[in-house]
Amino acid sequence: MFTNLTLRQKFIIQAVLILLALLYLVPLSNVVISSFAVSGFRNYTFLFTSGFPVIRMIFNSLFVSFMQVSLILLVASPAAFAFSKIRFPGKNALFLLIMLTMSISMLCFITPLFQTMKFLRWINTYPALIFPAATFWMPVAILILRNYYDSLGTELLEASMIEGAGFFTIWSRIYGPLSRPATVNVIVFAFINSWNDYLNPLLFSRTEEMRTLPLAVVSLTSSIHGARPEVIYACLVIMAIPSIGVYMIFQNQLGEGMTSGAVKG
């Protein structure tokens, strides 16, 4: 089906696709068009020149996303490797426990999370913007990476062990690098997840200087005169570019992982 097509079939398929595409294009292009309404490109320059700390927020978003991705890889990759290749008592039970936490919303833990942040003296600091959200995404990363490690087989492991290599060396020198396709998936989806996150910065950032871009929209409307809608739309466009960009760049390498990685938020 849909491989040897008559001209008529081709026409129908194209027509349906274009119709669907319109449903997607209209709302999205409305945002872009509206971002240039009234004052054109001045809406964008206004964002940067009005004293609103948007540059700091862009930096925060980038830094926090970078750190979250690093932390996720650093913690999830060895754990996934252990769950796939190392034998130790209680392994399956621990893995199950981690997987069961995968779909719990961070919202359920507002009060205890605040207690913890207070105890650590982390409120309104970068660690508070990085650790909770990253931790809540780690089970997903472990699942993706473990599936990939599983597919790699144990021959290399056995060979290296005979040579006398330790597990850390085997992971960091052999399996880690070999897991590149899955790692790229984790990087891309962890980045998108972190870049778009609204809840974590909403809870733990206190000052304008510690806010990330999703909250910039909130800040922009927090004036009694209100930011004009065009300016908010301009901010949305700026926010959308990196996540779409990352997806576009890595599009061809995602394949497999997109199915195991795209967990609905």
Partner: protein, 443 residues
């Protein structure tokens, strides 16, 4: 590939080492961090100026301000104090916020004596009463009241409306005239989508029927499903039936939809609190930086229009009522570190008496009525008769004609008041809605 992997590993570890260094903190640091949270007043943009000004006076202080939308601010405060980690200074409003957070605020009577002595005595006394009577939890920054009709005087004139509406009949007449002259413009926009705004709407209608009724119901002296409230909500329903309030307003938020429609000339009238008084300035009226006072983000479509304001008519008959008083005050965290306290008091002085006040409540376009003795709203930018009279009305109503405070002590009740308004406008049964409100107050 292996190299890349090891390199990324190194990169990932590096920042954690940096965190580790940043953590160890001396007891009395050279830079004193002073955190201050508030809602929309001052705005994020105001803070850029205020922070610079304050830090110029006290170079060893790092002021960390945060400004959020009211609903978001409440959520933040709740979460932070629940964890026992509130900001050093935080703004409160009499009603829900003050009742809830007064226990976390320091009594300012002694530490802020000098500042308070420079403020209007009656306002300071009001702050004490609202704080529970045994202490002063907030240093009042400005007063305001709800609710006013902001109107486009140019549209009124062209539509032949010569007298501002004072009751349902004259309001209907104004609507008819506006609809005839401007068939594709809205006569009135009201942001009934916002929970915080609808609580005020509920209180406004209730106090039209009997001034002070919400305050009494809040104390448990009257039930929330008493006949006065039924009457109030029936009046609200009548306005919907008469076409004064459109059901569509349930999809309109105050900022930026409702105020934007009015300021852009798409609506002739708009309900808002007295704090939006700066919007009465002509859009073409600009400051030194070339930014209009009424809209600091670029011109409006109504550059030559004249704007005015009048209190929302009492639809139950009689004189209009407004609710309010102190709109915002600054509290100091009772757990503030000893060495920070003098600077926190300096900040109060800066914001209520000094340069910060000159900017925040003294600049042209500012919306709050200052609490400093001898200070008043800066009227220099309201040259038209309509806007000048509008400002006078707002100041007069706020200072002299208050029916009671805005809001109530129980946050769940205030939230439900807003839901009652939405449901009544949507056409649900008034009695059942008020029963639900009473139930919430007993929970």
């Amino acid at each position: 590939m292996k190299k890349l992997f090891r390199f990324s590993l190194l990169l990932a570890i590096l920042p954690f080492a940096l965190f580790a260094n940043g953590r160890g903190e001396a007891k009395e640091p050279e830079t004193i961090e002073l955190s201050w949270s508030t809602w929309t007043l001052p705005t994020a943009e105001d803070f850029v100026i205020l922070e610079k000004g304050f830090e110029a006076l006290y170079p060893n202080v790092d002021l960390q301000p945060s400004s959020s939308q009211m609903d978001e601010y409440k959520a933040k405060l709740q979460a932070e104090f629940a964890a026992g980690s509130g900001p050093d200074l935080f703004c409160l409003q009499p009603g829900t916020l003050l009742t809830q957070y007064a226990p976390f605020a320091m009594d300012l009577t002694v530490p802020a004596r000098d500042v308070l002595s420079k403020l209007v005595d009656a306002v300071v006394e009001d702050a004490r009463v609202r704080s529970g009577g045994d202490k002063i939890a907030i240093a009042p920054m400005g007063s305001s009241s709800t609710m006013f009709v902001y109107y486009n005087a140019t549209y009124f004139e062209k539509a032949g409306i010569t007298k501002i509406p004072t009751d349902l009949a004259s309001m209907k007449e104004a609507f008819a005239k506006l609809r005839k002259t401007y068939p594709d413009k809205l006569p009135l926009s009201v942001g009934l989508k916002d929970s915080w705004f609808n609580g005020d709407v509920f209180a406004m209608f209730a106090n039209m029927v009997e001034p002070g009724i919400t305050e009494r119901a809040d104390r448990g002296e009257v039930k929330w499903n008493a006949p006065q409230f039924v009457e109030a909500m029936s009046i609200l329903r009548d306005l919907v039936d008469e076409g004064i309030l459109e059901k569509e307003m349930l999809g309109v938020s105050v900022y930026e939809d409702s105020i934007g429609m009015w300021a852009d000339g798409k609506a002739a009238m708009h309900f808002n609190g007295g704090w939006a008084v700066g919007m009465l300035s002509k859009p073409s009226n600009k400051n030194d930086a070339g930014v209009p006072y009424a809209d600091r983000r670029g011109g409006r479509a109504t550059d030559d229009d004249v704007f005015g304001a009048f209190p929302v008519p009492n639809f139950a008959g009689g004189k209009p009522v407004v609710l309010g008083g102190i709109d915002i005050g600054i509290a100091i965290n009772r757990d503030i570190k000893e060495f920070k306290l003098p600077y926190a008091v300096n900040l109060l002085d800066y914001m209520l008496v000094g340069e910060g006040r000159t900017y925040e409540t003294g600049r042209p376009g500012a919306g709050l009525i200052p609490t400093l003795k001898g200070a008043s709203l800066n009227k220099s930018i309201y040259q038209d008769r309509a806007s000048s009279e509008g400002v006078d009305t707002i100041v007069d109503m706020t200072n002299n004609n208050m029916a009671g405070p805005r809001g109530v002590a129980n946050p769940a009740v205030f939230n439900q008041m807003g839901i009652v308004v939405q449901n009544v406008v949507a056409g649900k049964d008034v009695k059942a809605e008020l029963d639900a409100l009473q139930a919430v107050s007993e929970k």
